[in-house]
Amino acid sequence: MAAYGEVTTARKWRWGLIDLVVVVVVLIPVLWIVSLSLKTPETLTDGSLIPREWTLDNYRSIFSTGLFTRALINSIGIALIATAVAVLLGMMAAYAVARLDFPGKRLLVGVSLLIAMFPQISLVTPLFEIERVLRLFDTWPGLILPYITFSLPLAIYTLSAFFRQIPWDLEKAAKMDGATQAQAFRMVVAPLAAPGLVTTAILVFIFCWNDFLFAVSLTSTEASRTAPVALSFFTGESQFEDPTGTISAAAVVITIPIITFVLLFQRRIVSGLTAGSVKG
C-alpha cells in the first residue's frame, strides 16, 4: 500500500480526473457566455457551444452608443481611486498594527474584521439615505467611500501579515545607519513589502470592480453607473429584440481586466493570501 503523501500513478490519475471535472464545471459557463457573445441573434438559441455563424456585431453594438463606454470609464476610475486610497490608508494602519503596541489595538483589528463580515445588503438603505442627504448619491465619491470602507479590513489584514514578516531589526539597523523613520520606511520596509502592496491592490481592485450591490443602489445615471450595473440595464433596440448577445459581449469585456491581472500576478496573490497563515 502506498504511504500517505506518496505520489503513485493511480493517485495522480485520480486527482487529475477530479481537477479536470472541477475545471470543466467552472469553465463551461464562461465558455458559454463567450460563445453567446459571438453568435448572431438568429442562432442565439440553437443550443450549440460552437457558434454556427460567427459575428462581432454584439461587441460593435455595446461600444456604439457610448453608454457602456461611459460605464467602463466610471468603473475604471472609481475602482482605481478606491484602490489607491484603500492601499495607502491600509498600509499605514497595517504598519501600526504590525509594529506598535497601542491601547485598543485588538479592538481596532476586531472592529475592522467585523465591518468586513457585516452583510452589505443591510447597509444599503441607510447608505442610500445618508448619501442623498450629503448629496453624494450618484457621484463617484458616493461609491468610492463605501468601497474603501469595505476593502480596508482586507487591506489591513493582508498588509499587516506582510509587515510582520519583515524583521524589525532591519528598521533598527536603518535607523542606526543614519536613517530617519520616514527614510527607514521608504528605503528598507516599503521595498520589502512591495509584493504585499501589489497583492493587496489587486484584491481591492477586484472587489471594487466586481461590486454590483452598491453600484446598483447608489447610482441612478450614467454619471457614476459602473459597468456591471450598466450591463444589467441593457435592453434590445426594440422590445422584440433579445439583449442576450450584447449582455454576453459586455460580460466578456468586463472580465478581461480581471483575468489579465490574475494571470499576471497569480503567484503573488496566492502567496499574499497565505502570508501570515504559514509564516507569520
Binding site: P167, D169, L170, K172, A173, A174, K175, M176, D177, G178, A179, T180, Q183, M187, V188, P191, L192
Partner: protein
Amino acid sequence: MSVVAAILLDQVSKKFPDGTLAVADVNLEISDGEFVILVGPSGCGKSTTLNMIAGLEDVSSGDIFIDGERVNDRPPKDRDIAMVFQSYALYPNMTVRGNISFPLRLAKMDKREIERRVREVAHILELEPLLDRKPANLSGGQRQRVAMGRAIVRSPKAFLMDEPLSNLDAKLRVQMRTQLSRLQKRLGTTTVYVTHDQTEAMTLGDRVVVMRAGRVQQVGPPQELYDHPINLFVAGFIGSPAMNFLPARLTNGKLHTALGDLPMDDRMRGALTSAERTSDDLILGIRPEHFEDASLVDEHVYDTGVIFEAEPDVVESMGSDKYVYFALDVERAQARELEELAAETGTELTTGGLQLVTRFSAESAASEGRTVRVWVNIDKAHLFDPDTGRNLTR
C-alpha cells in the same frame, strides 16, 4: 585637559511599561578605544543597556553621554555610533555593496568617496569578490562580515555589537572571535559588545561587565573577574567548567566540608574575622584547575593544600588535560544566586548530590571506579556568605 569618557552611563535605569525593571542604576565609564563586554544570562538587561546606548530604547532615568555630550533625547542617527545585530539585519533587497554603502548614501557622501570607502572596507574584510551579491546568496560567516563592514564603513565614534557571533557554528565563531579582536585593535574604535557566552567575554574584552537582573555585579579585566569574583554569581558565571561550590561549616577554626576538615590559611582567617557575616555556614568555591592528582604533586607544595580520597564518576580526557568528575554524597550548596545560575544552564534538573568537577594533568592515571588521591589547593579557594552571596575572601 580632562579626559572625556567615550561613553558614560550615569545611573541609567530602564523600566518597561508593564512595570518590569530591566536595567537598574547602571554606572559605567568606557574610555576611548576600549573593548567592553556586557555579559550575563538572558534577561539580565545587557541588550536593553546596549539599545539605550544606541538610542533604540528610551532611558527611563539617568543620563547617557557620548564624547561628553548628553544623548538621552537624540535619535540613533544623531549619535554617530554603529551597531551590529545578532540577526545581522542585512537589507535583503540590496547587494553587499548597497548594504555597506547605505550609511554613506544616507549621509549624502560624494559618490567617489563612497566607492573608495566601500572598496577599502571590502578589502579589510575580504568581501571584494562578493560586492555584487545579495545577502541571500551569502554564507553565515560572509553575512556576518558584511554586517561588520556596514558598521565600520563610516568610522563611527563607537561600535555596539549585540551577540554578533551567536548565529555562527562553533568553529567559525572561534575564528571570527579572533578576527574581531584583531579588527578592533586595528581600528581602535570604542566597542561595547553584548554576549551571554562567558568564553567570548573572557577572550575579547579589555574589561567585562557582569550583569544580573538588571544590575551590574562586577566590572573589571577578565582575569580579575576570574581570580577575584565579587560574589557567588560572578564566580559561577565566569569560567568553564564552572567553579565548584561546597557547603562548609566553620567549626573550631577548621572548615568542615564534604572533602574533609580543611585547615584555614591566614588569608581566610583574616577575611572571616574582618567580614560581617550572618552565621558559621559558608560556601566554599574551588575552581576545577585547583584540584590535582595527588601523585603528580610535588612533595613541597603538599602543604599548601589538603588531600582527600574519592572515586571518579566520569573521566573525560581532553588530550591536554583530564576532566575528572566526582559524585559526592552531600547536599549541594544552597544559595539564591546558585539557583539562578543553575536555571540558566539547565542543571537544576539534575537530581542527587553534589557533582565535583576537577581538572587533572593529562599524565594522571585516574579512571572511573578506582579511588584516587586528590590534592586541593586551598590557597586559591574562595569563601562565600550563602545569604548575601558575597565573596568574603576577595
